[in-house]
């Protein structure tokens, strides 16, 4: 019984709350099934499935809080857990930044659950591995891949009357295909809420095409290049920018959104005017849960509009301290795109580099959001509107802020890594050295 219905969850939460003696009590029940299959060298090497159900209780006295969790739901276990959380809270130090629990909230229904994902079983996973491995074996290629699927629920309630329930599913599949001699490598991956949208054979085929096309890559000089970033590559850098839009860090003077002389860059134009970033929990391709980590209902929010910073995340504590509205951190971002296809972008490029994905990205300077990392699994040289040959991988040192000021063109956003991201053509992208890695 890893997935409880809304009624079952509510009844247990109410029971736990009836045992509570603390000033405030919050109860969260979550559970579900996580499954995976992993293969390499064209053979399955790990597969498994885990069913979990956990109930956590947070008890609060004044500004002192304590938490505990259990996975037995009988009355005695629940009573013991409440007592334990209250004992821990009584002994805890005060948290000056503690915010009282929220009262009842209006949570919109979500679209995060899909029946096809919920129905995944070991046979589905084994078949997916076969669908991915077989065409690679047939073409003298080597596949290594990983599928992880989840179906579960979360229910939360507190002593002030808040209650929420949500069911969700997810499936995430990635595959690396390498040529037999190891001189070519391609990668592809897709993530969805609904497994009915996943076609492992197609994804593998894309990786296989890149593997074959990237054999015997040539070295070209590092430097500043026009790059065409496939959505996966663009997301690798853009998600780092979007997830760093925290108001507190900006106000404290330690963020790329901090302003010389004090204050923040809220309201300032920081990017090319074609840049618009928003979040929408009701977006059909990246549906989100109804509430944020702090229990606030998630709503459609614009973060950057026409290059201007419109919003930053404000936690409940920081919003109160600054006297502004809470702006919850979203679950996924939508980066508005343009009308060019990837093929259009290649056709319109005199000289450039096509990038499938980036790898091992690490922050170099948080003040300028400078990151380093490398291209991987399919990097190609473009000349006079055509892909000419595969090139050896590059190390880059680049900031997504600079990147979003150097936009040449954008395409239609697609889901990658939980965000909606377009393919992007960027000028003057900085590659600083070459790598022999395949």
């Amino acid at each position: 019984m890893a997935i409880l219905t809304q009624e079952q969850a509510k009844a247990i939460i109410d029971k736990v709350l009836s045992y509570a003696k603390a000033d405030e009590t919050e109860v969260t029940i979550s559970g579900g099934r996580t499954g995976n299959i992993r293969y390499a060298r064209n053979t399955v090497n790990t597969s498994g499935e885990t069913n979990e159900l956990s109930l956590s209780i947070t008890s609060v006295y004044g500004k002192k809080s304590g938490s505990t969790s259990i996975n037995e739901l009988d009355d005695e276990s629940l009573k013991r857990a409440v007592s334990r959380a209250e004992e821990i809270a009584a002994l805890a130090p005060e948290n000056p930044e503690y915010m009282p629990m929220l009262g009842p909230q209006n949570y919109a229904p979500s679209k995060t659950f899909a029946k096809a994902t919920d129905s995944i079983n070991p046979d589905y996973r084994a078949q997916l591995a076969v669908d991915s491995i077989k065409p690679c074996v047939d073409n003298n290629l080597t596949a290594a891949g990983y599928l992880e699927d989840f179906s579960g629920f979360v229910a939360t309630g507190n002593s002030k009357g808040l209650f929420g329930y949500n069911q969700s599913t997810s499936v995430d599949f990635t595959v690396t295909v390498r040529s037999a001699d190891g001189t070519g490598s391609g990668y592809a991956g897709r993530d969805f809420n609904d497994a009915a949208l996943l076609n492992a054979g197609q994804v593998t085929n894309l990786a296989a095409q890149k593997a074959m096309a990237s054999v015997n890559a040539q070295a070209i000089e590092p430097g500043k290049y026009t790059v065409i970033l496939e959505p996966m590559a663009a997301n690798d850098l853009l998600r780092l920018l979007a997830s760093g839009m925290d108001a507190r860090s900006a106000d404290e003077g330690r963020s790329f959104l901090s302003k010389k002389g004090g204050g923040t860059k809220l309201g300032e134009k920081l990017f090319d005017e074609r840049v618009t970033i928003y979040s929408d929990p009701a977006h059909p391709d990246i549906p989100a849960a109804p509430w944020s980590g702090e229990g606030f209902p998630l709503e459609k929010t614009t973060w950057v509009e026409n290059g201007i910073v419109k919003n930053m995340f404000y936690s409940r504590y920081w919003a109160q301290k600054q006297g502004v509205q809470v702006v919850p951190r979203p679950q996924g971002f939508i980066f508005a795109g343009g009308d060019q296809s990837l093929a259009d972008m290649i056709r319109n490029t005199e000289r450039g580099i096509l990038v499938t994905r980036f790898w091992y990205i690490r922050a170099v300077d948080p003040q300028t959001l400078l990151y380093t990392g490398l291209t991987r699994d399919g990097t190609f040289y473009i000349e006079n509107g055509q892909i000419k040959f595969p090139v050896k991988n590059f190390r880059f040192n680049e900031s997504p802020i600079i990147m979003l000021n150097n936009i040449e063109a954008m395409g239609k956003p697609e889901r990658t890594g939980g965000n909606m991201v377009p393919p992007m053509k960027i000028r003057d992208f900085t590659f600083t050295s070459l790598s022999d890695a395949v």
């Binding site: 390499a40 002994l91 990983y146 991988n393 802020i401």
Partner: protein
């Protein structure tokens, strides 16, 4: 600052609960035998059982506030079998005879199901039967027995020290881990181990709002396989480095380092931006450890070399043909790199690994030549080793054990040399300390490393602090540029507390020892940008 996630299936508990004794070894032996007998009756040809109690205490503070106190326990059993020549694994939190019996049955069923896809049967290198044995990290003071208040008071005094010396912000943390692991196998070993690790850490930030600048400096501590005695700050374990402040060996003075860190963070705000070019690098052990980890430790993992990590971490440039040639020059003649699970105070130190192989030390690179990899029981035959290296590890009872990096360390030089001696011979160089930004490609050729502190060396002397420094190189080129090593008196441990590998990802902790080391003519870039 790095905020870790909890070990799998862990439950929050009270600090007092962490001190409660776990199940005794005799009771665990009875339960282990349930698994061993069950799997044997179902036709398994090999079984190992790991009954694990994993305890964690994480304390997090920020300026004057306690941000979090986490006490967690995870208890359960993992059973791994070979049936029909194929691995099967199952785990459960139901540590009762019935629960273990069902789990054992599942492990065998999975092995038999997977055997239909198996290309060739698993062959294990032989291992000695050790009978009933035990091992414990030789700690002097169990960190979990130190009252939480005392530890919080230490962190808050660290924060105050930083704030009093000009820091605008400071986060500090103490991570403590105790793994109570019981291993039994059909090879006749019943091994009870009690493993302890500790990591004190902080990040101090200075801000110049007028200029819109901020700079941070992290602690120069190392995570260690030690008890709370690591925080004694013994004077005998400190030494003044060539940059004029204290470095630490096997005892750390956290408050002193916080005072220094605050001064460093402020100094960084106005430090000179580096002129890019070729420099001779003098790398402190607290920095070089991460370079060793990424450019030697990971590429010599045999499962990576064979392609098992191709879809995630990647493969390796150090292919079998290079090893077979017996003359692949990984580094200069001075480079001797050993792997081990036995170094005192190290994170990798255990008595036996997670498949019952006794811990040992072995050579990876000898006089610059690649001589070996890191291999476990089912890999040993691939590299003609008569036995496993003893580096099999699972981060939890619920995770299947696999090949993980042991301690990988650069041996000190045999001639007398201190860091003060080394610097005298450098005309144009940079002295780098501390763990900074790090990135390396999926086959471990091309890397870029930053650090916490950079000092310009001119004509044998420190000529002031630098900023915006990162060095880029190729692994083989870099290690072949190694031109000098300090001696054993300068040898110190660096550590990685949460090293990730595998899908689903598992963490492990590993140390890297080295002396201060010189590398000639390394490419340094300037990472400063204007936005």
């Amino acid at each position: 600052m790095l905020t870790p996630s909890l070990v799998a299936f862990s439950q929050p508990v009270s600090a007092e609960h962490l001190l409660m004794p776990g199940m005794d070894a005799a009771a665990k032996k009875v339960l282990a035998d349930v698994a061993l007998n069950t799997t044997k009756s179902l036709g398994a040809t090999y079984t190992d059982v790991r009954i694990g109690r994993y305890l964690q205490q994480f304390l997090l503070t920020r300026e004057k506030n306690v941000q979090g106190i986490t006490n967690a326990e995870s208890f359960g059993v993992g059973i791994r079998v070979i049936a029909n020549g194929t691995w099967g694994f199952s785990a459960t939190s139901d540590v009762s005879p019935d629960g273990i019996k069902k789990c054992a049955e599942t492990a065998v069923a999975i092995a038999k199901a997977n055997s239909k896809l198996q290309k060739e049967p698993v062959i294990l290198a032989p291992v000695q039967s050790y009978g009933e044995v035990s091992w414990k990290t030789p700690i002097k003071k169990n960190a979990l027995e130190v009252p939480v208040k005392e530890k919080i008071d230490l962190l808050l005094s660290v924060n105050n020290a930083a704030l009093d010396n000009g820091a605008a912000f400071v986060n500090s943390a103490l991570f403590m881990i105790n793994e109570q692991k019981y291993f039994a196998s059909t090879d006749g070993s019943y091994i009870d181990q009690d493993v302890h690790r500790i990591w004190p850490n902080f990040t101090v930030t200075a801000v110049n709002k007028a200029e819109g600048n901020f700079r941070s400096r992290q602690a120069l501590s190392a995570p260690m396989g030690m008890g709370y005695e690591y925080l004694d700050g013994l004077a005998s374990e400190k030494f003044m480095n060539p940059a004029g402040f204290n470095s630490y060996r096997n005892s750390y003075d956290m408050v002193e380092d916080a005072v220094t860190a605050a001064k460093h963070a402020k100094e960084k705000l106005t430090a000179k931006s580096v002129l890019p070019g070729k420099y001779d690098l003098m790398l402190d052990p607290d920095h070089l450890g991460l370079t060793i980890h990424e450019s030697v430790g990971h590429p010599l993992e045999l499962d990576r070399v064979l392609g098992y990590e191709a879809n995630y971490a990647g493969t390796s440039f150090a292919t079998l043909d290079k090893w077979e040639s017996k003359n692949f020059k990984y580094g200069s003649d001075l480079v001797n790199i050993v792997a081990d699970k036995v170094q005192p105070n190290s994170l990798g130190n255990v008595g036996w690994d997670d498949e019952g192989v006794k811990a040992k030390e072995w050579d990876l690179i000898k006089n610059g030549v690649l001589v070996n990899y890191q291999a476990i029981r089912d890999q040993a035959k691939i590299i003609n080793e008569p036995e496993s290296h003893g580096c099999c590890f699972a981060d939890n009872w619920s995770s299947v054990q696999f090949q993980r990096m042991p301690n990988v360390s650069l041996k000190p030089g045999t001639s007398k040399m201190s860091p003060h001696d080394m610097i005298k011979n450098i005309e144009k160089g940079i002295y780098i300390l501390g763990r900074g930004s790090y990135s390396i490609d999926q086959q471990r050729y091309n890397f870029q490393f930053g650090g916490q502190l950079f000092y310009e060396i001119k004509n044998g002397q420190i000529a002031g602090m630098l900023e915006d420094v990162a060095y880029q190189s190729n692994t083989q080129e870099f290690w072949n540029s190694c031109s000098a090593l300090c001696d054993k008196d300068d040898y110190r441990l660096f550590g990685s507390f949460f090293d990730g590998k595998g899908q689903p990802s598992q963490v492990s902790a590993v140390s890297h020892g080295s002396p201060t080391t010189r590398f000639d003519g390394v490419n340094v870039i300037n990472t400063g940008r204007t936005i």
